[in-house]
């Protein structure tokens, strides 16, 4: 079988390559695309058609999963604009990692009294991360955006760990 690279999610949805996607437009488009390509509506005349329809429908679903999640959308956009940038920026600043370690310790030892403040702090850190990624993208600084996306993983993981405790 010949491997055909899947079209990028923005192309699948016919949307401009942008971090900002209107959620209602996105959902309406998803429903329309899914309808158009529903396997039940396509009485495929031969096996080739059938495979094409299934493949298209898988592409639509994959693209939907990426586009509806702002973080995954940001990753996809970055990889499109600057292929390999996420791989090239994996080495994070030791001072940041030190802070991440400290946060993890705070999460591990957080009790019912300290959890709400810590949760608010982590949520704020994630909001800051996303705002920074947006600003970096607008400036065209893809490496900075990629580093910030990597950094956000630590905040998301700490938040998930905190939620798992309660």
């Amino acid at each position: 079988m010949i491997h055909v690279p899947a079209p990028d999610p923005f192309t699948v949805f016919g949307l401009p390559r942008s971090l900002d996607v209107d959620e209602r437009t996105l959902e309406a488009r998803y429903l329309r695309l899914s309808r158009e390509c529903h396997p039940d509506l396509h009485r495929a005349s031969d096996t080739g058609d059938c495979i094409a329809v299934l493949q298209r429908s898988a592409e639509i679903n994959d693209a939907w999963q990426v586009l509806r999640d702002p973080w995954r959308r940001a990753r996809a956009l970055l990889e499109l604009l600057s292929p390999g940038v996420l791989d090239r920026t994996k080495k994070l600043d030791p001072a940041f990692l030190d802070e991440a370690l400290e946060l993890a310790e705070q999460v591990a030892t957080a009790g019912a009294a300290s959890a709400p403040a810590l949760r608010a702090r982590l949520q704020a850190a994630l909001a800051d991360d996303f705002a920074a990624v947006r600003a970096d993208l607008q400036r065209g600084d893809h490496e900075a955006a990629a580093r910030r996306l990597h950094a956000s993983h630590y905040h998301r993981k700490a938040l998930a760990d905190l939620e798992a405790k309660s």
Partner: protein, 136 residues
């Protein structure tokens, strides 16, 4: 996925957890991370005048294999020379802990942490030598 007995042992009874004073001129600190899985590893060594590692501590935020890899690394580091420590390879950790392929990156992280700690100590020492050289 099942962890090997050695991984479980290090995970349940991690050796040398803690930290050393990072401002101590004889202490080298390495902090490394794997952003895909959100792991962080901090490894510190304290080096004596004879170039031997007299103490090693670690703190790791990550999976069992990452904890076991760094715990094992500190065990190996204690008492060895800095030069020998610099030769430690992740494959030795993989072998000792029987890490499966999906966990090899944890051992790579431990090797990176050792190298970063040694590099930090060497830089401190070089800076100190330059300072005493400039004074005399």
């Amino acid at each position: 996925m099942a962890y090997s007995d050695k991984v479980l042992d290090h995970y349940q009874n991690p050796r040398n957890v803690g930290s050393l004073d990072k401002n101590d001129p004889n202490v080298g600190t390495g902090v490394v991370g794997a952003p895909e899985c959100g792991d962080v590893m901090k490894l510190q060594i304290k080096v004596g005048d004879d170039g031997r590692i007299v103490d090693a501590k670690f703190k790791t935020y990550g999976c069992g294999s990452a904890i076991a890899s760094s715990s094992l690394a500190t065990e190996w580091l204690k008492g060895t020379s800095v030069d020998a420590a610099a030769q430690i390879k992740n494959t030795q950790i993989v072998e000792e802990l029987s890490l499966p392929p999906v966990k090899i990156h944890c051992s790579v992280l431990a090797e990176d942490a050792i190298k970063a700690a040694i590099e930090d100590w060497r830089q401190k020492r070089a800076a100190r030598t330059a300072e005493t050289g400039a004074r005399s």
